[in-house]
Each structure stands twice: as C-alpha cells, then as structure tokens.
C-alpha cells in the first residue's frame, strides 16, 4: 500500500513538472488567418495575414493599420498573402521577400516579390518569380520561402490539386521546389540550369503541397508537404531529385481511391518520415535558442489538422523520436517559429488567429 502511494505521488510530481515545462502567452490576437512571421532586429515582428494584410507588432502591440495591402492579390481558398522572410542583410538593405497568390478564379498562380521596408511602407517592389502555368483551383499554392547560405532563394510551389501529374513533368512549376537568385535570375549551378529538358529554376520535383521549408544550422534543406488522406511527408532535400508525387505516396485520395498503389520506386526519394493519418503540416522551424536547451536542434512542425505541434528529435538526419505538443490549445497551428529571443512562437489558423509565445515556466 505504501509503495503504491509513493508511486502515485511520484507520478503526480512528474506530471506536474511536465505541465510546468513551459507557459503560453498571447502576443497578438484578432489576426485573420496569420500565415507567417518575421522578427526584426528591434524586437518588432511582421506578420502576414492570408486575407492580404502585412501587419507589424511593435512593443508587443499589434498596430491597427496594416503596413501594406499588396496589389494584384488573389484571395481565395488557400490563396492570399502567404510567407515573409527577411534578407540576410536586412539590417543594411531593409529588403524582404513575400509570397502570395495572384490572378483570378480561373487563372491564378503563386508570385514572389522582393521589396524594401521603409518605415511602414513597401518600396521598390520587384517581382522575382511567378509560377507558370496558371491554374483554375484555389488550392495547393505551396508558397514557403527560405534563403540558402549562398544567398539564393528557395520557393515551394504546390501542384494545384487538380494538376498532380504535372509534378512529374519538368516543363512547368506545379509541385516543384524552385531556386533563384535574389534578383530573380537563375543560378548557374542549378541541376537543370542548361534548360534543355527542364525549366532551369527547378531544384527538385515530385512534390504535392509543400508548406514547410527550412535550411538547418548544418545547411541541410528540409521540406514538409501535405499528403492527401495520409502520407504527409518530411523530406531531406537534395538538388535534382524526384520526391515521387503522385507516382509514389503513402496516402490515398480524399475519395478513398488510390493516387498510386506504389509507395516506392527507383529514382524516387523516400521521405525521412511520414504521417498517416495526416497531421496537415503547415510550417516548421529548427530550434536554435538557449531558453529550452533540451530542444536545441529539434524540428518543430505546426500541425493544422492535428491541432498540435510535433517536436522532432533528430539524429544523423533521421527522426529519433516525436512528441505531440500544445494540444491543450485545441487550435489549428499554421506556423511555428523560433524567435531570436529564444522563445517559440505559434500562429493559430482562424478568423481570430493569434500569435502565441512559448517560454520556460520558470
């Protein structure tokens, strides 16, 4: 009896310690489907709302007036204002990069621009990339951006939902990872740079709807993509490789039919891990801060459908273990970012979206 009592006490203590590992604070609320966040050096934050506004948070307060409502934006379904990243020399040149959808219901596409942030205005807006051809669906734009250590820009493009077979063709941008220079030109060392049998800006292909992209501290490029019903993937990216969609997949179509009966094939890459049933990964980051030493080097994946964040403990390029976190919020999580202050930031996906800050309990 005494032993059982002591075990119960121990269990309660451990549970209590886990529960108090972190605390969650609201940084901003009332955001319309916030999609991405960027951290400025002065502590301010820039947030994109899918409904088209770029907002600034100053001293922990959301400014009521948006910085900009971008021209030519097409807001429909999964489209709208999507990602934002800062130039690696932002403190000097104030340049940032934005992705969003343009066009119309019957002819829309992903576009990426660069612009100079001048106070609360966007100046010198330059179009760097527009996905081609256009599509007539409001789904699967991709839209994540990342800068490589060599200052080239990576862009994910989705396969447009109804155009999945075109992810296997190299004459279009559906289901591709694109690599361009910061002025929009194509790097000479791209795998298809000669442009003979493929569009030269294509870096990898065979993707479905990649909404997560990061370059880790060791230079590895990671990408996650939504599967259909099951088969969400985490991929380790290598230039020129084919990631299989829709020829191979671990998921099935929403209708219940096969997208493909095959899960592997020659010359097609396998994911590092996949999630079935789908968690719907919306964005991810690598934690490099000091506030949570035990999280250092972990990947954090925002999960829309699962209403959680997956913490992936990585070892030798593989997922050693996973922890499902923040389910107590009961919120679709669109994005998770590690701030330069060491905190973890979550964006919740709703008409009344929030920015949440995760800090150590003590």
């Amino acid at each position: 009896m005494t032993i059982i009592f002591r075990l119960c006490l121990l269990f309660l203590l451990v549970s209590s310690a886990q529960a108090e590992e972190y605390k969650i604070e609201t940084v901003a609320e009332g955001l319309s489907h916030p999609w991405a966040i960027a951290f400025l050096q002065d502590g301010d934050m820039l947030v994109t709302e899918r409904s088209g506004q770029l907002r600034r948070i100053t001293n922990g307060e959301l400014e009521q007036e948006p910085i900009a409502k971008l021209p030519d934006l097409h807001i429909d379904g999964q489209g709208g204002l999507l990602d934002i990243i800062l130039d690696s020399e932002f403190s000097v040149n104030h340049r940032l990069y934005l992705s969003f959808s343009i066009g119309s219901k019957n002819a829309n596409a992903l576009r990426v621009i660069s612009a100079r942030l001048d106070g609360n205005k966007l100046e010198n807006i330059t179009t760097l990339f527009t996905a081609s051809p256009t599509k007539d669906t409001p789904h699967h734009f991709g839209g994540r951006l990342a800068l490589m250590p060599d200052s080239t820009l990576l862009i994910t493009v989705g396969e447009g939902f109804d155009y999945r077979e075109r992810a296997q063709s190299l004459d279009n941008h559906f289901g591709k990872l694109i690599r361009i220079n910061k002025d929009g030109t194509v790097p000479a060392d791209n795998p298809f740079a000669d442009g003979e049998d493929a569009l030269p800006e294509i870096w990898t292909y065979g993707h479905r709807n990649p909404q997560g992209l990061l370059v880790s501290a060791d230079g590895t490029v990671w990408l996650h993509e939504h599967g259909p019903r099951g088969g969400d993937e985490l991929n380790r990216i290598e230039p020129g490789k084919n990631y299989g969609w829709p020829a191979i997949t671990h998921g099935v179509d929403y209708s219940g039919a096969y997208v493909s009966p095959f899960t592997e094939a020659e010359d097609m890459e396998q994911p590092v891990t996949y999630w079935s049933p789908s968690i719907a990964p919306g964005g991810f980051c690598e934690y490099r801060g000091d506030l949570f030493p035990e999280w250092k080097g972990n990947l954090f994946v925002a999960a829309l459908a699962e209403k959680s964040v997956r913490r992936l403990v990585m070892e030798n390029g593989k997922v050693k273990s996973q922890e499902t976190m923040f389910t107590e919020l009961d919120q679709r999580i669109r994005e998770v970012r590690a701030g330069p202050d060491g905190y973890l930031y979550l964006l919740t996906d709703s008409d009344e979206g929030k920015i949440l800050r995760i800090s150590p309990a003590n």
Binding site: Q168, D253, S255, A257
Partner: protein
C-alpha cells in the same frame, strides 16, 4: 410494389454505374502511373481496382444516387411533357448527370473530388458510365412495365 420495384431498379443502376466508374477511374490513374515509367503488373491492376471499389464505396454511390435521382426526375418530366422514348431520355440524363454534378462540386469546392474526371477524356468516360446507368434503369423500368 411498383415503387419498391422502381427503387430496386434505381439501386441496380446506381451500383452498375458505380462499379463501371470506379473501374474506369482506376485504369485512368494506373495509365498515368505507367506514364511515369513504373511497371504496373496484372496483379497490381486487379488489386488496385478492388482497393478502389472498396475505397470509393462510401462517396461515389452517394454522389451517383443524388445526381441520378435529380436527373431521372427531370428526364421523366421531360418525357411526359415532350414525349419520346424513355430509354433515350434516361440515357441523356445519365450522360449529363455526373459531369454536371462534378462540375458543380468543383465550382463550389475548387477541386475535382473524383480524380478520374480531372481531364476532358476522363470526364467523357465517366459521363459514358452515367449513360450506361441511365440506359440500364430505363431498360429495367420498361421491362417491369411490360411484365
């Protein structure tokens, strides 16, 4: 009794159309897979076809039932107002019903729920499955009336 018989004919027509559409859909998807350079063996084909019949068994029969119901009501009304052979009216209704429903769903939801119907040729084949369903229903009703 007459109503029960008509319902039975309707269910037979829906199931036949569902099986045909499912089989056609699988072959179209497998043709695309072969186009990527993967080898699809006969056993792969049979297994995939059976898998898809089971996988689509919840969504597709419901879709076909709803669209056939509306299409056949319109066909019967048309036949009574304008006359003509029942078989032709129901074949036309069956032919038009699935493309109309899938197009409507795409307009509302932004995507094609039945992958086989994403291309013009796929949509045509699915429409043809509907035509056979309409023909079968009319034929069963005609035979019932003759009896």
């Amino acid at each position: 009794m007459k109503l029960l018989k008509t319902m039975l004919y309707f269910i037979v027509a829906v199931l036949a159309t569902f099986l045909l559409a499912s089989i056609v859909g699988t072959q179209l998807v497998l043709a695309d897979i072969q186009g990527f350079g993967l080898l699809v063996s006969s056993s792969d084909r049979v297994a995939a076809t059976m898998h898809d019949i089971a996988g689509l068994a919840t969504m597709l029969p419901i879709l076909i039932s709803v669209t056939f119901l509306l299409a056949f009501i319109i066909a019967e009304s048309g036949r009574r107002i304008m006359a003509g052979k029942r078989t032709y009216w129901y074949m036309a209704a069956g032919l038009a019903s699935l493309p109309a429903a899938l197009t409507l769903i795409k307009t509302l939801m932004g995507g094609t729920v039945f992958a086989a119907a994403r291309t013009d040729s796929g949509m045509l084949l699915i429409a043809f499955c509907g035509l056979i369903g309409g023909w079968l229903f009319a034929r069963l009703v005609n035979r019932g009336k003759a009896e």
